[in-house]
Amino acid sequence: MSEVRICIAGIGMVSPLACGVPGTVTALKAENVGIAPIRLFQVEQGGALPVGQVRTHLVDPGVPRTHNLALIAAREALAGSQKAPDAIVIGGTTGGMFETEEFFRAGCLAPERFTNHSPGSVADYLAAAFHCPGPVVTVSTACSSGAVAIQIAVEMLRAGKAKRVLAGGADGLCRLTYYGFRSLQLMDPAGARPLDRNRNGMTLGEGAGMLLLEARGPGTAGETGDPCEVLGAGLSCDAYHPAAPDPQGAGALTVMRAALEDAGLDPSGVDYVSLHGTGTRENDLSEARALNALFGHDMPPLSSVKGAMGHTLAASGAIEAGIAVMSIQEGLMPGTTGCTRPDPRLGVDPLIRPLQGKVESVLSNAFGFGGNNASVVIGRRKALHSTKLAFESTPHLTVVGSACISGAGGLAGTIEGISQRGHCTGILPEKDLAACLSPRAIRRFKRLSRMALSLSVSAHGDAGTTDAPSSVFFSTGWGGLSETYGFLTRLRTSEEAFSSPTAFVGSVHNAPAGHIAVHFRATGPNVTVTGGDYSFEQCLLTAGLLLKESGAPALVVGADEYHEELSRRFDGSAAVSGTPSDGGGALCVTRGRGRSGPKIAALFLENGKNNDSVIGSLITTLGGVKRINAAYGAVLAGIPAACADLGREQLTAFLSDAAFQGLVIPYRRLTGEFASASALAAVLGVAFVKDGVVPDGFSGPKGFGLQGKGILMLGFGTFVTGVEII
């Protein structure tokens, strides 16, 4: 074990205030405002509300606006760095949504238009641009995504999974968020006035923030002298409401305490608080209550930059972490632009104007829909700070319960379908999807949320534990397509006069995880991950990094819905598949503490396109040829139809190089083509390991005894993944 410091080796940002770190410092000092009536698209009805629109020239016309913003910030963060980052963790909520909206308006509906639609495509684009061969994770926890990405990167570095990680967030403006927040009446027509007595909502913004994080030993100063570090980070969930924060601020208080504890700091050690401070009545009240509970009468200076640049959604947590570094380096605490008369009911005294002073540590807050909260502590190391130990803990989680949904039903139906008909493809009827849930509780849920909650309740029920899950890790390749389609369709057909607040709130990728949290009152970390066909593997990797040894169970869930209009346009594998299919899987897991059950771990996740040695690297990571053949009786191989040639080539290379003697099951032939097929496969793998046998029909008419060995679940194509179940 050795001590590890998470040093911030580079920062990049682009926002409505400025492009680049130096320009942002100048703009914050000068109290500039980057907010003006929206110009990105014509507002048909109701007058153009002020937004924070980036004025910088975009650099790559071949990709969406969000991807451009991410590239600009990443280039700055990586400037002067010769080596590619080992891993990339990016927060995003809308990805290429603006371009998707434009294509739909123009009637251009060919699937090749939408290859950069998903939030996950931003991180994939950066991996290609900077030749990153390693893991890529996309976090989608709404407005806290950028900060959650930083925490995942920190844990990756602490676990020794990488030495250098590019972490951040990016979101471009689009109609979905503009009209969505407008439908919730959350946009202040006068521009955001955080913490002001007359505040009346947020201002929507766009931008990107990136940090290059490096793991260094305790004594190494690095190239930049005494660098700023991520001292600690924390996550929590309100488990209160899909779109409103807990008014008492309980989740906000928990997350700030968690971050400070992780950093080894007392509240008195915080020199400045960078607020989430959106300007909505509810957020600012909830955050202020938490601040009062945490700091009492010893409140450090605090402010929000969202009145100056707007709320840049997934980018905000990362941009503000970057501003925290500037605060420390420049001694600059930004003012709360837009706030002229602080609301006395909040009991806090925000900086109205910028303040110069010595800053050694900053607590930076980012809260999001679904009650997904994150706090990050940035600082220069003081002698008193404890350094974290690099832990060599196992990434394995113990599976104590599981459930799946396929076209053939739950686990029993799925296995029966495969054994008797050779497949479980198709779409389970709505009435069978959520039979275990009360109609009232799910009246606002569309297909994906129904699946996700039903899976979670069934997996927890299967675990037979009375302990409620505390943490939720959810993954989806495409998010709530029914809600997204419903929202955009109503907007378009009403010539932008009407939209649906319910559909907007349901359209965010983390909505299902929020519902799961509310159902179970799960107030621990609540993380939604999205990365196309590798979403579940990214999610399992994230759970392995973030889940603490608390004894409380956690849920790891992956699901995707088939949507008649969108699935074949967005998902290249669904487009070439003959049978529309959807479903997913859920695992109820624990870490440590004696419960018995199969162990699962995401051991490998690397780029399959820009990494010539990926199969060799996979074999080495799994322990070499001898261990692979000794440990695994069967391989569940996931080859998305859209990259069938590449995937088959990779599988063939693996089987040959590993001289694999066991059974090989290309499972998408059985499950059908959908992004979360691997979540379903993982649940099947768990069942096989528990029973010691692969049932009839999976690889031939007869069952296959595993002889005490485990299952290796491999994913191929643009990424290569390895998950073991033993």
Binding site: S183, P242, A243, P439, R443, S494, F498, P501
Partner: protein
């Protein structure tokens, strides 16, 4: 008075449909039953969804939360507000 009764009946159905209240029959909602925060489980998102429906179907805008809370107190207050504010409408 029958105009108001008809509107209340119409609103009953629209509310059940808009909020997807599968387990509620429209006639179960009394004229003066609390809509917001009552047995129906109507919350802030539902309220905004109803605001959108009222604007779309009756051309009546309700653009702040305070007003919405007042207007959506019950079916009677809602029908009265719509009647008073829809184009050409006035209480007889």
């Amino acid at each position: 008075m029958s105009i108001m009764n008809n509107m209340i009946d119409e609103l009953r159905m629209k509310i059940v449909e808009t909020l997807n209240l599968e387990d509620v029959e429209p006639e179960d909602i009394g004229d003066t039953d609390r809509l917001l925060g009552g047995d129906l489980g109507v919350d802030s998102i539902d309220l905004l969804e109803l605001v959108m429906m009222i604007e779309k179907d009756y051309g009546v805008r309700i653009d702040n939360e305070e007003l919405a809370t007042r207007v959506f107190a019950n079916l009677e207050t809602l029908a009265t507000y719509i009647h008073e504010h829809s184009a050409g409408g006035s209480v007889e």
